[in-house]
C-alpha cells in the first residue's frame, strides 16, 4: 500500500528525516515510536502533503502512484487520512457543514441530509460523543478527548484506506483512549485491507491495536524494527537503550 524510499526532509535548513525507508502492505498495522523531536510527526505531515516541509530526496508511493506531486486534498481523496495530534479549531465553520463537504468531496458526490444524519448519529453513539458537537464550530471549545473522538468520527464517515494516527493517545483519559481505540479496531475489522500507521511514544494504545510491526525512530531514521513485543521492551528499557545499542553497533562496524 505505502512505500517510502530514501526520504529526506528539511525544515528550516535542519534535516528531520534522513534517508528514511518504510514499507506498509495492505491490512498491516505499523507503529512508529520514539522520543520527542525525532521526526515522527514530520513523517505524518509529509505523507499528507504539508507544504511547510521540504522534501529534499526520495519518494512516497501509495498504491503504485507517487504522492509527492499531489496536493493535500488529492492525497485525502486517494484514501489517506491523518488523525492529527492537535486538531485545528476553526471558528464559524460548523462541524456539520465541514463533515458534509468533506464526505461529498471524498466520494465525489453530494451526500443526502437524511443519510448524513443517520451516519452521524451512529458514529457519535458508538464513540459516546455528545451529539451537540456536530452543530458546533469545528473543534471550537471541544475538550481534548472530544477533539480526538471527532477525528475518529471523521475516519468512520470518510472511510480511508490508510490511516495515520499521530499521537491519538495524547490528551486522552483512560476511558476515551479505550473508546477511540476500540472504534478504530472495529473499523479495521470491518475494512481488513485498511492499513494503519500509529505514531506514539506510549505503548498503551498498542495494547488495543496490536501492530504487526513496531519501529523505533531516532534522528530521522528507523534504528530498530520488531514485532509488538518491542513496545514492551521500550517501556522496560527506554529509548536510550536502543539508541546506545545502535551507536555501539555502528562503531563496531566502522572498526571492522
Amino acid at each position: 500500500m505505502l512505500k517510502i524510499n530514501n526520504l529526506s526532509v528539511n525544515v528550516d535548513n535542519k534535516k528531520i528525516l534522513d534517508n528514511f525507508n518504510l514499507s506498509i502492505e495492505d491490512g498491516e498495522i505499523h507503529a512508529i515510536m520514539g522520543p520527542n523531536g525525532v521526526g515522527k510527526s514530520t513523517l505524518s505531515r509529509v505523507i499528507m502533503g504539508d507544504s511547510n516541509y521540504m522534501v529534499e530526496a526520495g519518494d512516497i508511493i501509495f498504491n503504485g502512484d507517487n504522492l509527492l506531486p499531489l496536493s493535500t486534498d488529492e492525497r485525502a481523496k486517494r484514501g489517506i487520512f491523518l488523525a492529527m495530534q492537535y486538531p485545528m479549531e476553526i471558528d464559524g465553520v460548523s462541524n456539520q457543514d465541514f463533515l458534509r463537504t468533506a464526505i461529498s468531496a471524498i466520494n465525489d458526490k453530494k451526500i443526502g441530509l437524511y443519510d448524513f444524519i443517520l451516519k452521524c448519529e451512529k458514529g457519535t453513539e458508538e464513540l459516546s460523543m455528545n451529539k451537540e458537537l456536530i452543530h458546533r464550530s469545528l473543534n471550537v471549545g471541544f475538550s481534548g478527548g472530544e477533539k480526538k473522538k471527532n477525528e475518529v468520527l471523521q475516519i468512520k464517515l470518510l472511510r480511508p484506506k490508510f490511516i495515520i494516527l499521530d499521537e491519538l493517545d495524547s490528551g486522552l483519559d483512560v476511558d476515551s483512549l479505550r473508546i477511540t481505540s476500540e472504534n478504530i479496531k472495529q473499523y479495521k475489522e470491518d475494512n481488513p485491507d485498511t492499513s494503519i500507521l500509529i505514531i506514539t511514544h506510549h505503548p498503551k494504545i498498542l495494547e488495543y491495536l496490536k501492530p504487526n510491526f513496531v519501529h523505533i525512530i531516532d534522528n530521522g531514521k528507523i534504528i530498530k524494527t520488531g514485532d509488538y513485543k518491542l513496545s514492551s521492551e521500550i517501556e522496560k528499557y527506554g529509548y536510550n537503550y536502543f539508541k546506545d545499542k545502535k551507536n555501539n553497533m555502528t562503531k563496531e562496524e566502522e572498526h571492522e
Binding site: 507544504s51 493535500t72 486534498d73 476553526i90 471523521q154
Partner: protein, 250 residues
Amino acid sequence: MNRIRVVSNKIIPFDDSDIIINENNITFTNNGNYYIDYISCDNLDINFYVNDKVTVLLFEMSDSNSLNSNINYNLGKKSSLVVSKFYNNENTNEKVNIYLNKTLADIRYNFSSISNNSDKYLFNIYHLDKSTNSNIFNRTVARKGSSSNFDINSFVENGIKGCYLNQQTKIITLGDSNNKINPNMFIGEEDTTAIHSSVVGSVDNESLFYLMSRGVDYNTSVNLIVKGMILSNINPDMETRERILNILEK
C-alpha cells in the same frame, strides 16, 4: 424581529409602540429585536438612542454601490445594545460614534464586511460614565485590489472608573490588497480594563491544511473559512444568513 427600512437615506416610519422615529433619530424605549435594511442609501445620517434599562438587538445590513454614513449610538443608564452589522458595498466611508452616556451602559458591536474597492471606517467610542463597557469586533474579507482602513479610538477620561474597553479587528486578505488598522485607546483613568488585537493576514495555513487533509479542495476550504469568519461574528437569522451566503457565493 421588527423591520426598519431606510430607503434613499430616509427612515420609513412604521407603527411600533416600542420605538420613536423622528426624522433621522430612532429611540428605543423598550426591549426589542430590530432589523434595519439600508436600501439605496448613499449619504446616511442616523442617530440611535437606547433609553435607560433598555436592551436592544440591532441587525444592520447594507449591500449597495457607495455608502457615506455617519451613525451615532447613544446609550442610557444600564442599557445594553448589541449591534450586528454586515456590509457589502462597493465603497464605504463610515463614521461611527458610540456614546456610553450613563453608568453600566454596555455595547457589543459585531461588524462583518466584504471589502470590494475602498472602505474607510472611523470609530470613536466615548466612555462618559463609570462602569461602561464596549466590545468592538470587526471582521473584514478584503478582495484582491481593495483597500480597507480602520481607525478605532476609545476614550476614557480621568475619574471615569471601572470601564471595560475591548477592540478586536481582523482582516483576511484574498490576494494583494491595501489594509490598515489603527487601534487607539486614550485612557486617562487607571481603573480601566483594556484589551485590543489587530490582525491583517491571509487565510491561516494550518486551518487550510486541516480542511484539505479531509479532501476539501483549496477554493472550497478558503470559502468555508471566510464564510465562517463573517457569519460567526454576526450570527444572523436563517433568512439573513441565506442572503449573506448568496452574496458570498458571488
